[in-house]
């Protein structure tokens, strides 16, 4: 009995320490982000982002869009990309063996013609079926290839791309008109050291999209989407901004990130076997820079916005999160040599261990906490100090961190226009503790099991198209 008691107390302490530490880390990231966002706002005051149009020499960008079965939103997405405000860029859509009408829709909308382009196959990819150029949009190139994964499609795009910077954009995403101008700025200000930059991803659910642009921002009616809005605010404005300020960025979202092509090519491009190719590339780029002892920076910019559609069904959400978590585990296992390795600077000593301890192992500890609490209730042996402390560090502290993320949104872009939106987001911050967080913890813990079992599926989600996103199902 006493052994069980010791075990129970030990587990309880471990779980409490975990929740206390993770929320404290996120609290500190939020504080760092707060300072970063205020500074960024002051630094870009009176900056004319349009002045790049008057510059005689600009850094051209290849926007690469891998697309698999994206017939619903591909035309809106490509139109939004072609209407970006940037002096010199090309849009390369890689149709990764879609089984729906993605290519047909593109051909019809942009008058695509088969081209005889020849290119240097610097990165190995699965065979291409054809390269198409648009007769009405000279900036558009469409590659049709045999189905691989997103990484393979990105590599095909990289082979065709002509410019020194490339921007990875998801086909189900919409970039704001000046997003590229803003995200490229670090590459102009510090061209020697900047190797990557990412902007913020926001959810288009609940927004009105017309002509490939978000014309009205709103909160969706669907609570799963509402929880995700808050999650994205916490992750991008709180987590990534804070991590970037500590020079510990390990992820630049694959939905919208700009990279130096020479560095990405030197790393061998995207790793085809990777599940989360975005994180994998960023870690490899950092590894390379550390090994070559070259200074580098990966920046997070809080205002270039990429809108994307979030899943509104639990099934789709669990598939997406399972893939993300399997990808995280895969990347951390693959680069385990960097863990606690001083050779890789802050990335090795802080960022990788943080992700390993809190993001990778976190779901198990969370699930254990909930299970322990439930077992106490079932056995009628509720440990009230533990229960109250658990509630305090897991739920209350978490809600406080969510409130901080709302504050960061208010300070940065202030995109949700109605005061009512603040109430809804705060309510989401409280309500997510009732079921959503626990559900995701279980999904992520199970993803680890899937990873060990070698499950490698992508986890596609049902697309509703931008115009329909946010409407009641």
């Amino acid at each position: 009995m006493s052994v069980l008691h010791v075990l129970d107390t030990g587990l309880g302490t471990l779980i409490l320490a975990y929740f206390l530490l993770i929320n404290t880390f996120y609290f500190l990231f939020n504080i760092l982000s707060l300072a970063g966002i205020l500074r960024y706002r002051r630094m870009v005051t009176f900056v004319r982002f349009g002045e790049i149009f008057r510059m005689p020499i600009v850094k051209p960008v290849s926007v690469i869009v891998p697309a698999f079965n994206e017939e619903q939103g591909i035309i809106d997405s490509v139109r939004s990309l072609l209407s970006l405000r940037y002096p010199v860029f090309e849009v390369i859509v890689v149709n990764d063996g879609s089984t729906d009408a993605t290519l047909a829709r593109l051909t019809e909308a942009f008058d695509l013609r088969l081209s005889k382009s020849v290119f240097r196959k610097s990165l190995p990819t699965l065979p291409l079926r054809g390269i198409y150029r648009s007769a009405i949009q000279p900036k558009l190139v469409v590659i049709d290839k045999v189905n691989g994964k997103k990484a393979d499609a990105m590599n095909a795009g990289l082979n065709i791309s002509r410019y020194p910077l490339f921007c990875a954009v998801d086909a189900d995403s919409i970039l704001e008109k000046d997003a590229l101008l803003k995200v490229v700025r670090p590459f102009l200000e510090d061209p020697g050291r900047t190797i990557g930059a990412g902007g913020i991803i926001r959810l288009s659910n609940g927004c009105d999209v017309r002509g490939g642009q978000v014309v009205r921002v709103g909160i969706p009616r669907n609570w799963i989407a509402r929880f995700q809005i808050l999650e994205y605010l916490r992750a991008f404005l709180g987590g990534r901004m804070g991590m970037a300020m500590m020079r510990s960025t390990l992820i630049v979202s694959g939905a919208f990130g700009v990279f130096r092509k020479d560095i990405a090519m030197a790393c061998g491009g995207y790793r085809a076997a990777s599940i989360t190719e975005d994180m994998d590339l960023v870690v490899r780029m950092q590894k390379l820079m550390h090994e070559q002892k070259k200074p580098y920076r990966i920046q997070f910019i809080p205002d270039p916005i990429c809108w994307t559609e979030a899943p509104e069904k639990l099934k789709d959400l669990s598939r997406q999160r399972s893939r993300w978590h399997r990808g995280l585990v895969q990347t951390l296992v693959h680069f385990r040599g960097m863990l606690f390795n001083p050779r890789y600077g802050v990335a090795g000593l802080f960022a990788m261990p943080f992700y390993a301890l809190f993001e990778m192992a976190g779901p198990f500890i969370e699930c254990l906490g909930y299970a322990l609490f439930a077992s106490h209730v079932v056995l009628g042996r509720v440990n009230y100090p533990f229960a109250v402390t658990f509630f305090f560090v897991a739920v209350f502290y978490g809600t406080f961190v969510s409130l901080l993320a709302i504050l960061l949104e208010e300070l940065s872009e202030h995109r949700y226009p109605r005061p009512r939106d603040i109430f809804i987001l705060t309510a989401a911050g409280i309500a997510e503790n009732l079921f959503y967080r626990q559900y995701l913890a279980v999904v992520r813990a199970w993803a680890y099991v899937d990873f060990v079992r070698g499950k490698n599926e992508w986890g596609a989600m049902e697309k509703r198209g931008f115009a329909k996103a946010g409407q009641a199902p």
């Binding site: 002051r42 005051t45 009176f46 007769a135 061209p191 100090p385 901080l404 208010e410």
Partner: protein, 352 residues
């Protein structure tokens, strides 16, 4: 004991969360009300500014405008920054007058602020509103942090005199970590008047990347007076400088450079070859056609690519050469490249 600590923490965190929520909410209401007020002032200012800009005596009207709205510097700055985007040349004069009367003194004071962001904001206001006599304040910032330094350089380019140009080139030569991209844009903005400074800098021993940039600028600004200086670098042992020289020669379009470029097309480095072929193509000299056709059979993709587009630039004659290469069977790579260039030329023609 633990329960008391937890209880206190709980109450403390609850109060903190509630205060944070109130802060966010009240702040939003205050900001919305301020934005409404600012929008109203902005609309009034805009209407009056349009009258100033179209008035017969713009200067007097500008003074009157400055007196009227000098007490709202935040909105005034926004208006001036928005309008300087749309105006150019003499029409900027009323804006400059308003700026000098209302904001300039404060800006000059804030150029010495210990806060980087404050210095940066203020130096940016000088980019379009500065006058030559302000150069002295901006030159002081040339030894500030890189981001402020570049903003000051940008502001100086708008009021470039011989002295400020000398400052800019001194800074360029001494800059231990130059942002070459920014410098190239600044030099390009300054235009042909920098020729004597470029010539002088090219005689000095500078790091390869700085010399390379100067050679590049000579080509981009078509400074044909620097042709002999550029020619010197075509035989330089540094590959990077030979590449830059080949590129500059392709832009300067001096007929005498065919010989040098033909020699560079046979350089040991394929990067130099590729650039020399590209430059030979841009010369559009009939004598270079055999060299370009030969380069289409190079083992290097970039050389073939530049040769293909170089030939296409000759028009019909080049296209006939490309057709011939595309039909031959001995070298598939040359044939594919020729076919691609022909395809692109035809597609581009169709788009036009």
């Amino acid at each position: 004991m633990l329960s008391i600590v937890v209880l206190y923490s709980f109450v403390y965190l609850f109060l903190m969360s509630f205060s944070l929520f109130l802060f966010i909410f009240v702040r939003r209401l205050i900001i919305q009300s301020r934005e409404r007020k600012d929008r109203r002032i902005y609309a009034d200012m805009e209407a009056d500014l349009l009258e100033v800009l179209t008035a017969a005596n713009g200067r007097r009207e500008a003074f009157a405008f400055a007196r009227r709205y000098g007490s709202s510097p935040r909105v005034l700055k926004r208006l001036l920054v928005a309008y300087r985007e749309a105006l150019a040349g003499r029409s900027l004069e009323p804006l400059k007058t308003i700026f000098e009367t209302t904001i300039r003194a404060r800006c000059l004071r804030e150029l010495a602020s210990p806060w980087l962001a404050t210095r940066l904001q203020n130096v940016r206001l000088f980019v379009d509103f500065s006058r030559p006599e302000e150069a002295v304040h901006l030159v002081k910032l040339l030894h500030d942090k890189p981001v402020v330094r570049l903003a000051a350089l940008n502001a100086l380019t708008g009021i470039a005199s011989r002295e400020t140009l000398a400052h800019i080139f001194d800074l360029f030569e001494q800059d231990p970590a130059p942002n070459l991209y920014a410098y190239s844009n600044i030099f390009f903005t300054l235009g042909p008047r920098i020729e004597p400074f470029v010539r002088e800098s090219l005689t000095r021993t500078l790091p390869v990347e700085k010399t390379g940039l100067l050679v590049e600028i000579a080509g981009r600004l078509l400074l044909r007076g620097l042709y002999p200086d550029v020619l010197r670098f075509a035989q330089h042992p540094e590959k990077e400088l030979r590449i830059r020289a080949a590129r500059a020669l392709g832009r300067l379009l001096v007929p005498g450079s065919v010989k040098t470029l033909t020699a560079l097309a046979a350089d040991a480095s394929w990067e130099v070859q590729a650039q020399a072929i590209r430059s030979l193509g841009s010369l559009e000299d009939w004598r270079t056609i055999p060299v370009l056709v030969k380069a289409l059979f190079s083992p290097h993709w970039h050389v073939r690519y530049n040769a293909g587009y170089g030939l296409a630039a000759f028009g019909l004659v080049g296209i006939l050469q490309l057709q011939e290469v595309s039909r031959q069977k001995e070298d598939r790579y040359a044939a594919d490249m020729a076919a691609m260039v022909l395809d692109t030329v035809i597609l581009a023609g169709g788009t036009a």
